[in-house]
Subunit: 161 residues, 2 copies
């Protein structure tokens, strides 16, 4: 049983983000953890899948639901290296997760527009709505841990402009 936020869990999410970067995608990692430990893990996988919804958080949530054979992740927490966008925050609400723990913040990401890597420009677009704004307008009301291990997670983002 973990108490949240948990350093080892976010460290694992950071590893996953690195795997996403090594695979040529955005360096973003996420996992879903339940009472008995990690249920599902993912890195953002947009390029390889051609799926515009393949953010790390969406993939982790979908994999956790598939594994647990339910669309409700009661008691589960979503860990993610960057503040989840409205799509991903909403998915956690629809899944009735218990909480979200995120690392770097939307404001951090907004300060960093993108990066050139492997001859490609990665735009790191953001939808300018904070996760808390979404959480507070949904039910159930998820527990939200913001900017946890932010310094470590910041290293995954492009350098500031």
């Amino acid at each position: 049983m973990h108490s949240h936020p948990d350093t080892a869990l976010m460290s694992r999410a950071i590893e996953l983000a690195g795997e996403g970067g090594a695979a040529g995608d955005y360096r973003l990692g996420a996992l879903v953890v339940g009472a008995d430990g990690i249920v599902a893990e993912a890195h953002t996988d947009l390029a390889a899948t051609n799926d515009p919804t393949a953010h790390a958080e969406i993939l982790a949530i979908r994999r956790a639901s598939a594994k647990l054979n339910t669309r409700y992740l009661h008691g589960c927490f979503l860990y993610t290296t960057l503040e989840p966008c409205p799509m991903c925050t909403s998915a956690a609400i629809w899944a009735k997760a218990s909480g979200i723990v995120f690392g770097a913040t939307l404001d951090d990401a907004l300060e960093r527009g993108g990066e050139h890597r492997d001859g490609q420009f990665y735009s790191w677009r953001q939808i300018n709505i904070k996760s808390r704004y979404v959480v507070e307008r949904g039910t159930p009301l998820l527990e939200l841990h913001e900017a946890f291990m932010r310094t470590e997670c910041l290293t995954l983002l492009p350098a500031p402009r």
Copy 2:
């Protein structure tokens, strides 16, 4: 080539919503249409898939991307029978769709809490954020047609409380 909003396209989305209801799910339908016609269709499919992200709009977007083999739906419009939630609106933004056309509104849905059907209570939870709020905070800026054929789409929702 369609001009938007288009009555025949929304009528098709309403049919899809009915198919979702007949399958024991929420009566919500969506489609993605491009320059050459409908690319992908879906009804909400939460119960059968156990996937908390299986809203009609997400499924239509994912299917359209799979069919077109790209995560960018440039030039495409998303039609949906109910104002899309922040998850689905955001997915359309990430996909760089050209626009969204929706029928019944979030306010309509908020007035209708849920319904008993086939011995089950369908809660029709809402996240209280309008699609326009999300659209205006993302890039590209999608064209938004609100409350199109609202009267027809309203018949898909539970009766007012």
